[in-house]
């Protein structure tokens, strides 16, 4: 369980806090979606939840972050690394830059945590398979496309098998199939009991894998509820978040004054 207890965070030198009085509880096995307009505070929340802010990023934090009930304030970054995994939107920020092959890159984090060799191999191969990038194993990570690098970064995270995972737009550069693979991998990780926080602009992805969705606006939580309810909330577009495709289509249909027959046909085809 990952708990954010009424925290306020301000970057060093910033006039205003980027997040204010945010409280969130992420249960074991839960995938919590985080939505919001650009600069609403999603990335900052990911940095705080993973412990990188303020430890590495600086700034000031009021309030607490708890892991399974334990206050993380006194913990150093390396003590947190084995417990909370983070994936960034840009793989360039994530990849170690020292691994000569994709295989070594995916194994890198688990090796650093001192996981036994056989176990590292098993986890690495499982992560490569889960994201269907086995064929890239011998390639140089620096020579891959942006989307392929993003999959490699997420595979490295999966190989860490963290109990808590924070992902900041993990599928930003992925094709639809890559996005679906990451979604399946995250659902699989949650099924093992991990708690997962995922910030995304792609609300269709949030609709597919999240039980609950939180929406931020100007650093505050403004919507928090079951994913289908939040993602169908009429305020979503005003908050700068594009609703899922089905919600958007249904709303456009309402605005067009279609006949009852036509609406019924549309509803029938939208039913899962």
């Amino acid at each position: 369980m990952l708990t954010l207890e009424s925290f306020t965070y301000r970057y060093a030198g910033a006039r205003r806090p980027s997040l204010q009085e945010v409280s969130l509880e992420l249960r074991d096995g839960e995938v919590l979606g985080l939505a919001g307009a650009s600069e609403a505070g999603k990335t900052t929340l990911c940095l705080v939840a993973s412990g990188l802010a303020p430890r590495t990023v600086g700034g000031s934090l009021a309030g607490r972050v708890l892991l399974d009930g334990e206050d993380t304030t006194p913990l150093a970054m390396h003590e947190l690394a084995g417990r909370v995994g983070i994936a960034f939107a840009s793989p360039a920020t994530q990849l170690s830059g020292v691994a000569a092959t994709v295989y070594e890159e995916v194994a890198f984090g688990a090796m650093n945590l001192g996981v036994p060799r056989d176990e590292v191999i098993a986890r690495t191969e499982e992560a490569l398979t889960a994201l269907r990038i086995e064929s890239l194993a011998e390639r140089d990570p620096a020579q891959l496309s942006g989307g392929q690098q993003q999959l490699v970064a997420i595979a490295g995270l999966l190989a860490l098998r963290p109990a808590h995972v924070v992902l900041d737009e993990p599928t930003a550069q992925l094709d639809p199939a890559g996005t679906a693979m990451v979604a399946a991998a995250l659902a699989g990780l949650a099924a093992t009991g991990a708690s997962i926080l995922v910030a995304e602009q792609k609300t269709d992805l949030l609709a597919a894998i999240c039980g609950r969705v939180v929406v931020l606006d100007a650093g505050r939580v403004v919507l928090d509820g079951l994913a289908p309810d939040v993602l169908a909330n009429p305020r979503l577009a005003d908050l700068g978040v594009a609703p899922p495709a089905a919600v958007r289509l249904r709303r456009a249909a309402d605005g067009m004054g279609l006949s009852a027959t036509a609406l019924a046909r549309l509803d029938g085809s939208l039913a899962p």
């Binding site: 939107a89 942006g146 550069q173 700068g240 958007r248 456009a252 036509a262």
Partner: protein
């Protein structure tokens, strides 16, 4: 007006990866073309051939009949503006205004003309109030819009955008659409790489799908997302947009966008 021709272009990276394998395309002046395809299918490699950052291993790239092999990257910068997928690989100046000024200044713009071009590009992406801001004090999505403004300000006949909507919220996507509409309205060609099929269907006249460095689909959004194309799309890990799927399910034909689907529904009942 610049017509672009790729004539049997192949490219192999020094590492040995064959990124393009005999691509032939003609893109006419003023067209809006979306390049789609799975990660690693060659989209970015193709884009980098258009402004000479990469040169074909074999085959030719022609601008208005002129082989780009004879032109330097600096000469090609007058013809093709490229906004990178990762804005941080592009941005290097200390202020937002300085960043947008750099390109048009290099093309020879000075004084009032330069100021007008920069102001217009900043206003178009909603960054007019941030002219004096350091680009790295902007969030990632606004840095991406800044990179877009920088190539927009150059006024090149061809604009190449590598995943322009990545990380953009609802408002950001609308801004990107507006920039594209203005550019093509002024007769410029826009070529964009995207994984966002709704954006592609709503914004472009032509969709080109790549797989393993080959063109496997080339047509209007209606044809590229029609049911006959789904096997080809899926072979390069793409899915048709939701309205296309629903239109097909309801027997309404090719309906790549919400508008097309709703119009077909309204007409059919």
């Amino acid at each position: 007006m610049t017509d672009l021709i790729l004539d049997d272009v192949s490219y192999r990276y020094p590492s040995g990866a064959q990124a393009l394998d005999g691509v032939s395309l003609q893109i006419n002046a003023g067209e809006r073309v979306a390049l789609i395809g799975q990660n690693g299918s060659g989209k970015t490699t193709l884009a980098r051939h258009l402004n000479g950052l990469l040169r074909p291993t074999s085959g030719r790239v022609l601008h208005d009949g002129m082989d780009v092999a004879d032109r330097t990257v600096a000469q090609l910068a007058r013809l093709v503006g490229l906004a990178f997928q990762d804005p941080d690989r592009q941005i290097f100046r200390g202020t937002v205004r300085g960043e947008v000024e750099f390109g048009p200044r290099n093309l020879g713009l000075r004084g009032g003309a330069l100021r007008t071009a920069v102001d217009a590009a900043l206003a178009e992406v909603g960054l007019e109030a941030e002219a004096a801001t350091n680009p790295y004090d902007l969030g990632a999505s606004r840095r991406k819009l800044l990179a877009l403004a920088s190539v927009q300000a150059m006024g090149t006949p061809v604009l190449v955008l590598d995943e322009p909507t990545t990380g953009q919220d609802l408002r950001g996507v609308e801004i990107v659409k507006r920039v594209i509409a203005r550019a093509t309205g002024a007769g410029r060609t826009v070529i964009a790489i995207s994984h966002d099929m709704s954006f592609v269907a709503e914004t472009f006249d032509r969709v080109v799908a790549l797989r393993d460095g080959n063109v496997i689909l080339d047509g209007t959004p209606a044809s590229a997302f029609a049911e006959e194309s789904w096997d080809a799309l899926r072979s390069t890990y793409l899915e048709p947009p939701l309205p296309a799927v629903i239109g097909s399910r309801l027997g309404l034909g090719a309906t790549p966008t919400d508008d097309a689907l709703l119009a077909a529904l309204a007409a059919g009942s």
